[in-house]
Point group: C2
Chain length 339, copies 2
DNA sequence: AATGCGTGTGAGATCGATCTCACATGGCCT
DNA sequence: AGGCCATGTGAGATCGATCTCACACGCATT
């Protein structure tokens, strides 16, 4: 029973005894079509299970109803949530979603983008790996391809973006640690190419500065954003003669790494060390004590980005919107008063 | 400087003073082309930044180098991991990945599949929502579109699949609980339409049967696979006059829900209740005590599925392969001896 | 001289849907 | 009767890449 090839408009037209043009008119309801003819065409289409070839339509119109989404890593629950929300909205708008992981490699991001562009994809949502190096993104803007940046912005790329108040969040966290009597506050951070990493670092520095605490490079560890790397970095940080008394981690994977490292080193929270992580995560309330975090409105980000994108796709041409959501310090039990 | 339209083959041909046919030959290196001509064409293509329109190529060849992936929910870390692994392999093979969430709704799955099919997508990896209702999948097979089922198989759909030993895993878990002296063993399970849910339920039943324990419907709670629903279901289950002394949960989101429910009810693990979850998850080793789980080789599943798919895409036509990975009981501290 | 082959190139068809244009009707008005 | 509009339909062009076919040239063979 299997039709080896899906039915084409030509098949429908033939079955209905009309021309392709008429069939198209009947199916897409535009122009003049006789009632009776329209009926015939509809019937024929139904009988053949005609679906239309989106590829051909896309070639003709120059636009494929697919949006591209390039994120750091779908395994990070933060990005997974965002991807999910984007997909839901895309589906509602009749679009599909192509997802690519940059793995935080600029080269990967560039080639992925090139590959998706050659598909005539209509719009992109990107979490750029690099804050500086972004000719490829500027290229999109120059050719008027809708682009929304999320989680991070990129210098010289003038387009819609959705980020959170990283600096403020980090500032609040460190400020809180200082208020609790900590002076040697460690920072476990991500690669400095990454926008969020920079901003969170800035918040850390300004909070220290405001309290008159001199920055100390020995308090800062850099690691890739994976649990494993974070474990190593934490161990290094806390193997010093005078280790930090508190630690601020810049994302949830790193927070997990820190937790594992502390356990393996026999360091107990909050007695031996205090901990605040950026980005709330499922695990944070399951540990004992629960982890104090800076939370960001994850459920808003993807939806906001998708909405911005679909506004652009439907022709909006306002000045780029730069959304920035607030972050919130959620105090739980991982910070203790000191001295 | 922005070229508003990307360069086409015609542009390249014009600049190189040759016909489109010759330009195509030079760029794709087939047929006869003069050395000098080839050079000219390459140069022209370089100067124009010619990329080729994958849409047009796809229309011509009938095949778009994109694979479609329909999963339950990317937010579930299990699926996120799989999606990630598939994307990596796809990229290596020059494919992109379209992701859709079925949200465990058959209707959603069907319409998503239809929408992707009209893109002439070359192959699909699907975690089918329903074990029975799968005319849409049979349709793919009938039209020879490569399809790989993961995590779940579907009746009457004869194609490659990658699943784990759900029944065996569940059996081992429940057997262990019985060996530890438990007789009233609760089951927190997913919708019965779902293949894994059925198999895990079967393992639960056979283990009880082998120990001569009569099945008791009051020990079984059904919930959707979200943390919130699982909380409610657990509370219901443990609000009975004679609640279970142990609980087996069929996936990691439900295990999390159970943990939250127990906490809110003041039920302590493993003293008041023992717990085993199916699917290992990041949280499991962070709780106190750590959670005993049945683990599945998550990192294998996506890769295996992708490999099977690309084998099919490169023309392999063997009999369908049905891969089934082993599951393993990882004993931690959430089960106590009873009686 | 006639045939053949190896090499190189271009014209045009094709994939499927859509859109413009031209061409039919028929009815209505002046 | 002549003209005009509203309605309905089809032929053909278009999107961009690729592939088949035909053709042309030069050199070698009979």
């Amino acid at each position: 029973m299997a039709r080896s090839k899906p039915a084409t408009l030509k098949d429908v037209a033939a079955l209905a005894n009309v021309s392709r043009a008429t069939a198209a008119r009947a199916l897409n309801s535009y122009g003049y079509v006789g009632d009776e003819t329209a009926q015939k065409v509809q019937a024929a289409a139904g009988k053949l299970g005609y679906r239309g070839n989106r590829l051909a339509q896309a070639l003709r119109s120059g636009q494929l109803p697919i949006v591209g989404c390039i994120l750091g890593d779908i395994q990070n629950p933060f990005f997974a949530r965002i991807a999910h929300d984007i997909e839901v909205l895309a589906r509602e708008c009749g679009y599909n979603l192509v997802i690519g992981s940059s793995e935080e490699e600029l080269g990967q991001e560039v080639s992925l983008l090139a590959s998706l562009r050659s598909l005539s994809i209509r719009g992109f949502i990107v979490a750029p790996t690099s804050a500086d190096n972004n000719a490829h993104l500027q290229g999109l803007i120059a050719e008027n391809v809708p682009l929304i940046l999320i989680d991070r912005v990129a210098e010289g790329v003038d387009c819609d973006s959705v980020v959170v108040d990283n600096e403020g969040g980090a500032h609040k966290a460190v400020e809180y640690l200082i208020a609790m009597g900590h002076r040697r506050i460690g920072l476990l951070q991500d690669d400095m190419r990454i926008f969020t990493s920079r901003e969170r670092m800035t918040g850390y520095r300004t909070a220290l500065g405001a309290a008159g605490i001199a920055p100390d490079e020995r308090m800062i560890a850099v690691s890739q954003s994976t649990v494993e790397h974070a474990v190593d970095a934490t161990i290094r940080l806390f193997s010093q003669k005078t280790p930090p008394t508190a630690l601020f981690t810049v994302d949830s994977l790193m927070t997990q790494g820190a937790l594992l490292a502390f356990r393996s080193m026999g360091i107990s929270i909050p007695h031996n060390v205090s901990l605040i992580g950026f980005d709330d995560f499922n695990l944070a309330t399951f540990t004992d004590p629960q982890i104090t975090v800076v939370s960001q409105p994850v459920s808003e980000i993807g939806r906001a980005a998708a909405r911005l994108l679909f506004d652009r796709l439907s022709g909006k041409t306002d000045a780029p919107q730069k959304l920035r959501f607030e972050t919130k310090l959620i105090v739980r039990g991982s910070v203790s008063r000191r001295g």
